[in-house]
């Protein structure tokens, strides 16, 4: 008997239907502004307002011809992917440590891991800026990445903790009784079971990093991330539609990738 198995409820048709409806309602609400943005990305208006004035694909053309904009999107992707992977590894480690080991400072470790949530980003940014300068480290995507690991960590820890609490250690111990080392036991027993939660945690860290700009604003060097670039552009009314077009492109690319991957999964 383990706590890692499939959950097979007696199908409760009525509640299931309400729950599906709830999900779709929420999804629709979340995508509503995106739909509006997509509308304006093909609209000849230079400002976000009705009435609409004719269709145009000019803005997308401008996106492709603005290398700085494309670069910033690529930078965001790289930073988000890198920092979320590191945050997931570190955060899962913290959760395992907390749940499986007793040591002095256990609660302190947990508190520190979650602390970045409380610290206002601008404070963390300022402090990191001074820190890097004191050690003569130039601002760059790496410094942003480090800050993003920091802010992704609490999400990972809280999610993994929720997953691991009460996860009975009997199977690991059985594995060790049979001669496995602890790392092997972890790898073969725990990791597969918590993998879905790890992926969810990693995705959360990715999401948190991708659109983050308070920290990035302070810590980018010559290469900005997309939110930083966008935030600066908001000063000027004339470039807004190009920004919207870029955001729509990112959205479409992500969705496209998602659906493609899902199709690939189905084929297997």
């Amino acid at each position: 008997m383990t706590a890692t198995g499939v959950v097979r409820h007696r199908p409760l048709r009525r509640t299931s239907r309400w729950l599906w409806a709830y999900y779709w309602l929420l999804l629709a609400l979340l995508f509503l502004p995106i739909g509006l943005l997509a509308l304006f990305a093909v609209n000849a208006n230079t400002t976000l307002s009705f009435p609409l004035r004719g269709l145009t694909l000019d803005w997308f053309g401008r996106v492709l011809s603005t290398p700085a904009l494309l670069r910033s999107a690529g930078n965001s992707l790289a930073v988000a992917a890198g920092s979320s992977i590191v945050a997931t590894l570190l955060g899962t480690g913290v959760a395992i440590l907390f749940v499986r080991f007793r040591f002095p400072g256990r609660w302190l470790l947990l508190g520190l891991s979650v602390l970045p949530l409380i610290v206002p980003f601008v404070v963390l940014a300022g402090a990191l800026l001074v820190l890097f300068r004191a050690f003569d480290v130039d601002r760059s995507l790496l410094t942003v990445g480090i800050a993003h690991v920091m802010i992704g960590l609490p999400f990972v820890v809280l999610i993994m903790l929720a997953r691991l609490v009460g996860f009975e250690p009997q199977v690991e111990e059985a594995a060790m009784d049979l001669g496995a080392t602890y790392p092997t036991a972890l790898r073969l027993v725990v990791l597969p079971a918590i993998a879905p939660a790890m992926v969810a945690a990693g995705l959360t860290a990715f999401t948190v990093s991708f659109d983050e700009f308070a920290l990035a604003l302070f810590l980018v060097g010559r290469e900005p991330t997309f939110p930083v670039y966008l935030f600066g552009q908001l000063r000027f009314t004339t470039t807004l539609p190009v920004m919207i077009a870029m955001a729509v492109v990112l959205m479409a690319a992500t969705l496209g990738l998602l659906l493609f991957a899902e199709r690939v999964r189905r084929i297997r």
């Binding site: 198995g5 499939v6 208006n45 230079t46 400002t47 976000l48 307002s49 603005t66 290398p67 700085a68 494309l70 670069r71 999107a73 690529g74 930078n75 965001s76 992707l77 790289a78 930073v79 988000a80 992917a81 890198g82 979320s84 992977i85 300022g126 800026l129 001074v130 300068r133 130039d138 601002r139 995507l141 597969p192 993998a195 879905p196 992926v199 990693g202 995705l203 990715f206 604003l217 302070f218 980018v220 060097g221 010559r222 290469e223 900005p224 930083v228 670039y229 935030f231 600066g232 552009q233 908001l234 000063r235 000027f236 009314t237 004339t238 807004l240 998602l258 991957a261 899902e262 999964r265």
Partner: protein, 386 residues
């Protein structure tokens, strides 16, 4: 969620993240050199500090790496077009700041940018703290195209520390359909008749400026009692204010959505709204309009002095100026550029055909550090008191 052996559902997101990492790495790394067409990536680090005078090195052989701390948008080659054309083999990289306070904080924290772009009200701090260095204007071929008033903006103790680049007006913008009597005073921003439809810029020194125009205070010499009056005035005004705007698109969309009908505004928003068909007027208050100027300064211990001087010089060039005016609706420091504007909307926005406007305009004065701290603190208290 599947058994422990195979989790097909999970390969999907993992794959996504890995793809993102690869794509991002390629995009980021592959395009990490700045957008200069035929420039070979020159070695980091500059030419020696003691360069022979610019005329000795032919322009297309000028190389080097310049780093500019600027506001986002200015990194577009359109806004340093003249430099790009004149020195095709020099590289320019940009760092970004989000506000004057941000730029100041970064330079104080030791940012290594060679050139930076503050605005009036903040320029003197760089001089006081020894962050900006004196500029030898004899090396700037475009210098005599800059009007005297603008030159003074970057002068301290008789020395030229910064070079003006962009400028604009501040005045009261109002919707002529909803506001039937023309507005002629800054006091309109505090008028209960426009309750719930006023929008003020989110800036302490800006608020102090407006109050001093209304009451006739000397902006450079605000006493604590006057500051207390000003603070209370803005706390009261907040009840009439719909929302503070941070950037011009906020302001423009508030006018378009009908949430604002009277606002503190730069002429960029005015021109944009006119172009979008919204019936607005740009007031000519009896206390006079305000004007602000953006300048470029050179960091004190930069190793790229020669390149920095060239960059600033070319910023005053005509192509750059024309791009600035027609894309951002900001004024340019080169008088020839301003005189050459033909677009009617822009001529109206800059009041080019009315030379008396400039005479009645109050330029933003220099602040002392004490004033900056006191006025921004005052504004934060106003916002916190709601």
């Amino acid at each position: 969620m599947g058994d422990s052996r195979s989790r097909p559902g999970m390969r999907l997101p993992v794959g996504l993240v890995l793809v993102a990492l690869v794509v991002g790495a390629c995009a980021g790394a592959g395009a990490s050199s700045p957008p200069v067409e035929s420039a070979p990536p020159s070695a980091a680090g500059a030419t020696a500090p003691t360069t022979p005078s610019p005329s000795e090195v032919p322009p297309d052989q000028v190389t080097g790496e310049l780093t500019v701390l600027d506001w986002a948008g200015y990194d577009d080659p359109l806004y340093w077009q003249d430099f790009k054309d004149a020195y095709p083999n020099a590289n320019v990289g940009f760092e970004f700041g989000g506000s004057d306070g941000d730029i100041y904080g970064k330079m104080k924290a030791g940012d290594q940018a060679d050139v930076f772009h503050p605005y009036t009200g903040w320029i003197q701090f760089y001089v006081d703290e020894g962050i900006a260095q004196e500029i030898d204007t004899s090396k700037l071929k475009n210098w005599d195209k800059v009007p005297e008033d603008f030159k003074k903006v970057g002068q301290f103790n008789g020395k030229q520390y910064c070079v003006p680049f962009d400028w604009g007006f501040t005045s009261v913008l109002y919707n002529t359909e909803k506001v039937t009597t023309p507005i002629d005073s800054w006091a309109a921003l505090m008028d209960p008749a426009y309750r719930g439809h006023i929008s003020m810029w989110d800036d302490g020194p800006g608020a102090v400026t407006v109050s001093s125009y209304i009451h006739g205070y000397d902006e450079t010499n605000i006493s604590p009692e006057q500051l207390a009056t000003i603070k209370q005035e803005w706390i009261d005004q907040a009840k009439l204010n719909k929302a503070y705007w941070v950037g011009e698109p906020d302001l423009v969309s508030m006018f378009q959505s009908g949430d604002a009908t009277v606002a503190y505004s730069w002429q960029g928003a005015y021109a944009t709204l006119l172009g979008a068909g919204v019936p607005v007027a740009y007031a000519d208050p009896k206390e006079g309009r305000n004007s602000w100027v953006g300048v470029y300064c050179i960091r004190k211990d930069t190793e790229n002095l020669d390149l920095a001087l060239k960059f600033i010089d070319e910023k005053l060039g005509e192509k750059t100026g024309n791009n600035l005016v027609s894309n951002f609706y900001y004024g340019h420091a080169n008088q020839d550029v301003m005189n050459g504007i033909t677009d009617e909307t822009l001529r109206k926005a800059f009041s080019i055909d009315d030379p008396t406007i400039l005479q009645k305009t109050n330029f933003t004065p220099n602040l002392t550090a004490d004033q900056r701290d006191a006025w921004t603190a005052m504004w934060n208290e106003v916002k916190a008191s709601q």
